[in-house]
Structure formats: C-alpha cells, structure tokens
C-alpha cells in the first residue's frame, strides 16, 4: 500500500487537488475520498507534502530553521499536552512523526486535518470545532522526554542533558502532573484553535500515544502592548533574550541531532492566591523585587531599567532584597527564554482554594540553565511562601523542519 520513494516525485511541488486527482485514478491502488481520517495519508504512505499557506490569515509558518512556538511572539492561549507512547518501536515512532508533520502544517494553515469526506456513515476526519476560525497564529512545538529513550531502546542517542529534573527545595510533585514521553505545545490566539490542534493530533495517533497530563493556560496583553502579568499581577517574562546572538547563546542547541532545537522545561506551579491577596503591596513588591505597576526593579522607575543586584541604599540595605525572586534569579547569572501561561482550573477539592497558578515554560540550550536558576532561588526565595511546584517535565524539542523533511528526522538519521 505504500508508494515507492521517488525523489523527483516527492520534490515536485504538487497541489493537493492534483494529488487527489492522481490518486483517484489508481496511482496508489486505493480508493480515496471517504475513508475518513488517515485515508489519504495511508494511501500515500505519508509522503503527502503540505506547504505553509501564503494566503492564510494570522498564520505562523511551520517550515524554518527552528520549530514554531519558541521565539514566536507569545500568543494569548496555550494547550499543553504531555503524552506517553503506546507504540513500541523506533520505526513506529518515526512513522508517527511522518504522519504528524503534514497534519501540523495543515493545522497551522488554519485548515482541517483532512479534506471533507463524502461518506456520512463514518466520523469525520477532523473533529470540526475550529471550522470558521482562522489559524489564530497557532504554533505547534513537539518534543521528546527522557523516558522515551529508555522505552524504545535508544539510550545511546539520549543527550546527557536530557534527564528528569532534580528535586528542588519545597517541590511537591505529583505523578499525575509529571514527566511524559512526548509533548505537544499548542499556542494560539484562540483557545479553541489550540485545543483543537492537540485533540486532533492525539486522535490521529489513537493506539500510538495517550495523554498523560495536559494543561490549558492564558496570557493577556495590555492594549498598549508590553509584558503580560501573571496572576500575582506582576509582569512575567521581562529580561527574556531577544536578539539572534542572545538566542544562540541561551536557547538553541549547538550540535548533535538536536542542533537548532531546544530544551523545554515545564513546571506546573500552583499559586496560593488567597494568601497572596492578604499580603501588603510593600511585601508583594519585596517578594518579587520589582514594583508591581511599572514592573521596574525596586528603586528604579522603568520596567527595562538596568539594575545591579548588589546596589544598596544609604542605610546599607539592598535596593532589591536578597531574598526577592528577581534578585536570586539574576544572581544565577544565566538566561533562558520564558514563555509561561497562567491557569485557573477550578477549585482544590481538599482546601476549597483556587486551583490556579502558572504553567511555567522555558526554553534553553541546556536544562542546566533552569536548574541553576532554580537552585539559586532555593530555599531563600520569598516567593516560595506563596507557590507550590506540583508538576515537572523536560523535553528535547526538535529543530525546525525543512520542506520535504519531517519532525525529528535528524534523530532517526542518527539511529
């Protein structure tokens, strides 16, 4: 049923309409059309080449040196899913990424998973809830976790940096929010578009993967632009690397199969809103080390004002307390790209408190950067009083995909 690999054929730019016509006359020897999800894909042995649309509205490109969703301007919504594999071989894993690649392109074009079917007696290939919505700047970032390498006997390719994160002071990790073999980070300016993407990719991989945990999140931007605030009302993301050189230094992996990829650290951090809300503004600002309204470092007036953590006032006190979050984080001396989202998921059943917080996400060249910051915060961080880390995961996110290639190809070429 597979189509033989013909380089000229795969390289040839061919529209979907033409392809359907070709297959319709029996090129693959299989009837196309109404066989629903995966019918076209199966018939074509996943060689279907999808391309970034040049006409789609609010569209982020899929193809490029890096995956989308890392340096892509932060969207307003995320649906993050950590998956476990049910498949048992490297070959099946490769098939999965080949299957997903064109589907991801379609989703990011704001298109349905498959062309509409004519047979109403089978479920539709696309679940349909994104109909009528545009691409909403959907970005999809795929990564693989440390456990995957052990499950599929490919430990020799596991980067030494890809390890479960060590235990940090005050961690209260729960298994149901921790780890995973694969991740799909779907970010979009529409919550339904983001959810639709994860739902459909998981559905298309039925029997191959299952969701271990997932989290929806949101970010809101002031009308005038600028850094969004977390649920403690402080700006989150100030100090992110922005220019190409900084990103090269802090975010992109330099060599190996992960070259031009990045490590994603996800932490589900519960924020105790009730206790925070009965804390004086002065103490809140001393906790973060910044002024709440402006986002300026304590003692400064503008969000992006330079500051020296060692700077003291006339009484010999630190301008930015040495137990404050910003002081300790800056002291670690390392940078990473933070791309976090707030969440509000109802009520904690055991306490009746808000089940709300931050789905912290950072991208870095090496998880050691995150570990250094977290160790620097350590037991000292005044913010610890108001937060509890409940979940943790680390994933190696593939480099970007070139046309004709697929997600993770460099890994499989290295096998």
């Amino acid at each position: 049923m597979t189509v033989s690999k013909d380089d000229k054929w795969t390289e040839k730019k061919i529209s979907r309409r033409e392809m359907l016509k070709l297959t319709g006359v029996g090129m693959a020897g299989v009837a196309i059309g109404a066989s629903g999800l995966g019918g076209v894909m199966k018939a074509m042995g996943y060689e279907l080449l999808e391309d970034d649309s040049t006409t789609a509205q609010n569209k982020v490109n899929f193809y490029g040196p890096h995956q989308s969703g890392i340096v892509t301007p932060v969207q307003t919504h995320i649906y993050f899913a950590s998956l476990n594999v049910l498949l048992t071989s490297k070959q099946e894993l490769q098939e999965l990424f080949k299957q997903w690649t064109p589907l991801v392109v379609r989703l990011m074009n704001g298109e349905t998973m498959v062309e509409a079917t004519t047979n109403t007696r089978v479920p539709t290939g696309d679940t349909g809830e994104a109909a009528g919505l545009d691409a909403a700047n959907l970005s999809i970032t795929v990564g693989i976790g440390p456990s995957l390498f052990d499950k599929l006997a490919m430990q020799h390719l596991k980067p030494t940096a890809l390890q479960d994160l060590p235990h940090f002071p005050k961690d209260q990790l729960q298994q149901e929010w921790t780890g995973g073999d694969l991740c799909i980070q779907a970010c979009a300016d529409d919550p339904q578009v983001a959810f639709h993407a994860v739902r459909n990719l998981v559905r298309a991989a039925s029997g191959k993967v299952e969701i271990k945990w997932s989290q929806a999140g949101f970010n809101s931007f002031p009308a005038k632009g600028g850094t969004p605030r977390n649920l403690f009302a402080f700006k989150d993301g100030t100090g992110n690397p922005t220019d190409v050189q900084e990103l090269k230094k802090a975010v992109w992996v330099d060599n190996g199969w992960l070259k031009d990829g990045s490590y994603l650290v996800a932490r589900k951090i519960q924020m105790h809103l009730e206790t925070w809300d009965r804390t004086s503004l002065k103490d809140q600002e001393a906790t973060f080390g910044r002024h709440r309204d402006s986002g300026a470092p304590l003692g400064k007036t503008q969000e992006f004002d330079a500051f020296d953590v060692e700077e003291k006032d006339s009484n010999g006190e630190y301008l930015m307390p040495d137990t404050s979050h910003t002081h300790l984080a800056r002291k670690s001396g390392v940078q990473m790209l933070r791309r976090s989202y707030s969440y509000a998921s109802g009520v904690m059943s055991n306490t009746g408190a808000h089940d709300a917080g931050l789905l912290f996400i950072s991208f870095q060249k090496d998880p050691a950067q995150f570990i250094a910051v977290q160790n620097s915060l350590g037991r000292m961080d005044k913010l610890n009083e108001y937060i509890t880390h409940r979940g943790s995961a680390v994933f190696a996110c593939f480099p970007g995909v070139q046309k004709g290639s697929y997600l993770g190809e460099a890994l499989f070429n290295a096998l």
Binding site: M1, A31, G33, A34, S35, G36, L37, K42, L86, T118, N119, R121, V122, P123, R203, S206, G207, E210
Partner: protein, 288 residues
C-alpha cells in the same frame, strides 16, 4: 394585535419557504447531468443483515429463558440462585443491546437504573426490572414482596422477545450499534455505574464487547474488500480488550467484582476500549 403579528409570521414564513424552493431548484439546475442521473449506490448487505438478525433472535431466545430462570428463583425466595443467575442472564441482553434498545419504553422497564428513572422525573415507585431486583438482592437482602416486580420483568422480557421478531435490521443499526456498544462500556460500565449494587459490571462489559465483535465478524468480509489493514487493526484491538478482561476472570467463568479493580485496572481497560473505538468507528466505509 396578536392576530396581526401571527399573520405577519405566516406571511414571512411563506415567503421564506418560497425562497428556499427557488434556491433548491437553482442548485439542481447547476449540477452536471451525470451527477443527477446517478443514484447513490447502496452496497448489498442483505446476507450480513440477515446474519445479525439471526444472532439477535438467538440472544433474545436465551435472554427470555434465563430471565425466566431468574424470575423463578426470585419468586421461590432462592437468594443464591437468583444472585448466580442475575449477571449471566443480563449478558444476552447486553450483547444485543442495539436491537433491544430500539423499543423505547421497554429498555428502561427492563434495564432502567434508579438514577435513570429519577432523571426522567419519575418516582422510585415507577422503577421496575433487573436493577430493582438487583437492589432487592444485594442491598435489601430479600426477595419478599418482589414477586410482582419479577412477574412484570418476565412479561416485559416476553414482549421484547416478540417485538424483536419484527425488527428490521439496517446497515446503520449494525454499524452505529457496534460503536454504541463500546460507548456504553466507556460511559457506564467502566465507571461501575451500571451495577452499583451487585458490582457485576464486568459481565456487562464483556457482553457489550462481544456484541460489537459479533457485528465486526459479520462484516469482516465486506470490510476486507475495502480496507484489509482496518480488519487487522480491529482484530488486534479486540484481542487487547479481551486479554485485559481475561485478567479479571474467575475460575467459574465469571468476573471479579468491580470493587476489586484498581484505578490502574480501570484506566487500562478504558484506554483499550478507546483505542478499539476509534478504528471501529471506521466500519462505515463499507457503505460507501
């Protein structure tokens, strides 16, 4: 005033309807002649439909016989006999549920749970059938006073048996029925909400799966012609569910109590059923 507004609605409605008619006409004219001339071809499934009808009739024969046994135990006050017959008798009903439930009011009379009855705004006194007797046997520990309920159950089972003889099995009933059987498992059996007193949910679970597998088996040849890979996948997925269920089988051919299952057990069963449901929902390709 009221009259006037009613009139205007009628007039507006008439205009709208006329409008619709016009567009329909226009559409038809737009279509190429070939498309109009070709009526939708229906695949010939007469042999498969007959085979399924035969299966359903056999199940209903057995259901009636076993229900009669069960009812006799209840009326004789034989608690042990009644309890032992309860779950196996119900399996014949659960296997053929796509057919059994096509008779709107009989299904709830035979198989209604107290929660279903209350949801419909009815009182407990209107509750009849198997689950009412389940409550008597496992919660009240008696059969005394339940003779009339038992008689009613047998009468309803007889009525169902008679009605099933007249059922017209359609391709949609079979194909939708197979998925519905799995949905039954996913929504009530896997949560232990079907047999909340006897905890014999795994019997129903097994029977629902067998009912779906029967439909798949009957359609197997037709499916192979369309998509042989789908048949292989379905064989694997049915086996995965059966293997998992077999882990919870007892020596006497029955199943352990739902309460003996751990959260990991139910999660694994639910995942296996979902993985079966996705390819099973593709069986409609034979109707193309």
């Amino acid at each position: 005033m009221k009259y006037k507004s009613l009139l205007s609605v009628l007039v507006a409605g008439g205009v709208l309807m006329a409008g619709c008619g016009d567009t329909e006409e226009a559409k038809k004219e737009d279509k190429p002649a070939t498309e109009q001339a070709e009526p939708a071809k229906e695949v010939d499934l007469s042999a498969e439909l007959a085979a399924y009808k035969q299966f359903a009739l056999e199940q209903m024969d057995q259901f009636l016989m076993e229900t009669e046994k069960f009812v006799n135990f209840v009326k004789a006050g034989d608690m042990e006999g009644a309890k032992a017959t309860y779950a196996p008798a119900r399996m014949y009903f659960e296997r053929s549920e796509p057919i059994a439930e096509s008779f709107g009011d009989l299904d709830p009379r035979i198989d209604g749970r107290l929660a279903d009855i209350q949801e419909e705004g009815k009182g407990e006194e209107e509750w009849t059938g198997y689950h009412k007797l389940e409550h008597a046997l496992w919660v009240e520990n008696t059969t005394a006073g339940y003779e009339a309920v038992a008689d009613q159950l047998l009468a309803d089972a007889k009525e169902l048996h008679a009605l099933v003889q007249t059922v017209e099995v359609t391709p949609d009933l079979m194909i939708t029925g197979a998925v519905d059987l799995l949905n039954e498992v996913s929504t009530s059996k896997i949560t232990g909400e079907e047999e909340i007193y006897s905890h014999t949910d795994l019997y129903d679970f097994k029977a629902n799966i067998e009912g779906a597998e029967k439909i798949f088996d009957i359609l197997r040849t037709k499916l192979e012609e369309k998509d042989a890979a789908l048949v292989t996948t379905l064989d694997e997925k049915f086996k995965a569910v059966d293997d998992l269920l077999a882990k919870h089988a007892t020596a006497d051919g029955g199943y352990v109590s739902y309460e003996a299952l751990t959260e990991d057990d139910t999660k694994a069963l639910a995942a296996a059923v979902n993985q079966l449901g996705e390819p099973l929902s593709q069986m409609g390709i034979i109707l193309e």
